[in-house]
Structure formats: C-alpha cells, structure tokens
Symmetry: C2
Amino acid sequence: MAEYHYQRVYRELKQRILQGDYEVGSALPSENELSLNYGLTRVTVRQALATLEREGYIEKQHGRGNFVKAPRESLNLLSVRGFSEVLGETNHAVRTRILSPPAHVPWPDPFFYELPAAHLAKPCLNLQRLRFADENPVMLESAWLPDTGLSRLRQEPFVDGSFFKSLRRWYGIEITGMEQHLRAVAADAPTAKALQMRKGNPVLFITRQYTTSQPGLVIYGTIYCDTTHYAIGS
Amino acid sequence: MAEYHYQRVYRELKQRILQGDYEVGSALPSENELSLNYGLTRVTVRQALATLEREGYIEKQHGRGNFVKAPRESLNLLSVRGFSEVLGETNHAVRTRILSPPAHVPWPDPFFYELPAAHLAKPCLNLQRLRFADENPVMLESAWLPDTGLSRLRQEPFVDGSFFKSLRRWYGIEITGMEQHLRAVAADAPTAKALQMRKGNPVLFITRQYTTSQPGLVIYGTIYCDTTHYAIGS
DNA sequence: TGGCCCAGCTTGTATATACAAGTTGGATCG
DNA sequence: CGATCCAACTTGTATATACAAGCTGGGCCA
C-alpha cells in the first residue's frame, strides 16, 4: 500500500490548494520547478497535475501555466467518490442518519437494473441512509448488494462511517467503476417524509451500479435528492 | 490542425469499437501489440487508451487488458460534448427545432449566474432550441453569450447544425471547460408546453457555464430535460 | 509612439527504456 | 488428485530526453 510518487505530489498539491497556500486564480509553480523540487521527472509531476485537473482543482493552460480554480459551492456527487469524501471538501456541515442498518432483505422485484441470476442465489444486503447538509436532509440513499460473505457489514459500525472505506479495509474490495442514470421524479410519500418536503415535489432520482474489484460483486444504489437548496454540480 | 498520433489512435480505435469490430466485453489488442502495429511507443498508445477510458468506451484492468464496455442506452449529456455529438453515437433518431434563432436580447435580470460587468457592456446573443429523440421532445435548450463580434451566428445557419462547431469553424473558438449545476424542478407553463407535458411535472434543470479559448467569452446555458422516457447517463 | 518580432518562458507530444505489480495457465511436487 | 509455484503475459509507474506549440514581455525599428 506504499504511495506512488505521483500520488504524493497530487496529495500535497491538493492539500496546499485546499489550505489556500496557492491562491485561487494564481499559477502553481511551473512543471519544471515542481519536478526539480520533488526530484522527479516532469512526466511524473504531470500525472499528478492531470488528476488535479480532472477533479477540478486546477486548470491547465497551454503555454501559460497551471492555475488554481475556485472551489465548487454545490454538492458534486456525480463522481465515483462517496458522499463523505465529497462533502468533506466543501464548507457544508455534514451528518448521516442510518434509517436501516445493513440487513438481509428479499431482492426487490421489479428491480431498477437487470439482475444476473448469480445475484439472486445470494442473500440481498440492504441499507438506507439519510444525508444532511447544514442540518437539512438532502439525500435519501439506499444500496443493495449480493452478500458474498460480508458479515462484518451487518455486525460492526462502518470505518469512519464510510461504507466504501469499510469494504476496502475489511475485505480489500475496491470500487473499479460506476454508471449512473439521472431522472427528475415526483417524490412519493415515504421519500417526501424523509426529506421533509411535500409529496409530489420534484426530486432528483439517481440510480447507480458500481463494479468492484471482487468478481461477481456489483453494488446497486439509488439516491433521492432534494435540490431545492443544494444544486448538484460536476 | 494536423492530428496528433495519439488522436489518430484514439479515433481509429473508437471507430472500430463503434462499428463492432471489437466486440463488447472482449479485450483490445494489448498495448504492446498496438504500439507495434502503429509504430508508436506504448506511452503514446496509452494516451489514446486513457481518453477512451475517460469517455467510457473501454475499461482498463491491471494485469488483464483493456476491455470494450457496453454502449450506454441513456443520453449522456453530462460531458462537455454537445447534443448532436452525444446522440450521434446512440441508436436514437435525433432532430432539432430552433425556437428562437440567434438574436440580440437584453441580458436577463436576474441571471442564474453572476455576470461580469464586461459582459453587460456587450449585447446579449440568445438562442433557444428544442431537441427531439425518436420524435419525442426531450430537451429545451437555451444559451446566452456576450456578442464579441460573432455576427455570422445571426446571419448563417450553423455548420452541421452545431453551435459549437460553428464557433470553432468560423472564429477558431474552442470550448476549454464547463461547469454545470443540476436541479429537479417543476415545469413552468412554457417549458411544459414545449416538452408536451403537464405543467408542474418534474423536469431536470441544468445550468451551465462554458469557458472558451477566447478570453472574455463565457457561454451560459440552461437545459430543461424530460427524463420520463430517457434517463440521463454518465 | 506604435507595431512587429523574437528570446525565453510555459505546457503538449513523443521516443526509448526499465522495472513494478497484477493475472493466468501450465508445470511441478507432495 | 490437489495445491503450489512460476514463467510469461498483461497494465502501471518512472526515468531521461527531445522537440513542438502556445504565451509574454522587452527591445528594436519604422
């Protein structure tokens, strides 16, 4: 689990950007300077910078430099990263309430994705959580996954309160990919109640399918999102 | 405007994937084979593959290979790419109706983004289009931009019907970045009418801000999207 | 003054190479 | 037979280097 050079450069630059050591709009040290300072080649430094650009921390400008971008105000949850990771970098106070702790339930039928037969043969692990930003309920999140022997999920609280982090720490399972579909729908009664809104009000409905490093383990998720006060950015 | 090597590899691989020469789920030739075939180094080939991965055409698997992913069914419009580009790769029949051709209007007040004073000094160019998939209206798209001397936009039909392509062809203006915010809202009367739905029904509302290669030119856009029959993927 | 050009900076593309890390299937050994 | 190991493949990280392409500011010239 040793950190690669480019990951270290990425982490340190990102930290300094978030701390404000590099001001918004200003240029980072040039790639040549960075490679000299870190004792790495420019190619390696550029790998770190490419990641920072993908994640929206900097903007690369050919012939000019790499510039620090303004931080996002909205909740960026369209990336693969989880809820806690994303909001940890914003100024919003975050809280999670577990509505249904991980437990076995029958596989929902109909399901919003086509289920491989191999999944139906295993018990279905389900959980439901409500996410708050600044004490307002904003996201109602559910997950379903085939229980391939993940008993600790039902027995212990999550590592740092993070579902994905627990999977990684306890079972070495990494998220390798994600697909999602977005819809605007009218809130049904239970959703409206959880999000403290009126039934029928428009909510953003996201269905997701995560692929993992464990063959055969696919995680399905849905999110109902109240976008009245917090838009979703990307 | 010569094509770079990695762009050629990207274009050719993408074409063969879309044509079905490489089947879904199968592995591409290994990076070593590709570099031999193209007479390029592995580093260059990997640049093309990284782009294909970002755009969701392939999935890289360490130690195994690069695998063709299944094409998306939904409309993927969360990327920077324009409407026509995105839907051109799906199986949906696409049509565009221009509701308001490009013309000068007063800057809307209030505007959904904070407007720099420099923009208000220039006339505001506005256009509105309705997008159809399979003959169903699915997106109501508007754009606002400061007219920095872009008179051909008001005088000629777009190149290939594409707004962005016209900007590139006529003025050499490239899109360098995009930020967007998503909300679920209730359709107001004109929106509902255009999308042939009932007023108050939930629609996906996207606000966008494009940055361009021309300093001072920022393009603002909104999209109302009926997700009843076509989800938005990413 | 005003316009042009160019040196010197920046990032972008590309080569050639080496080794690390993950996967797989077959050979080997108990 | 079954488990283990390993060679040969895959992709990932990293070095060192070169030149192309884009940008900027200062100096030169008309």
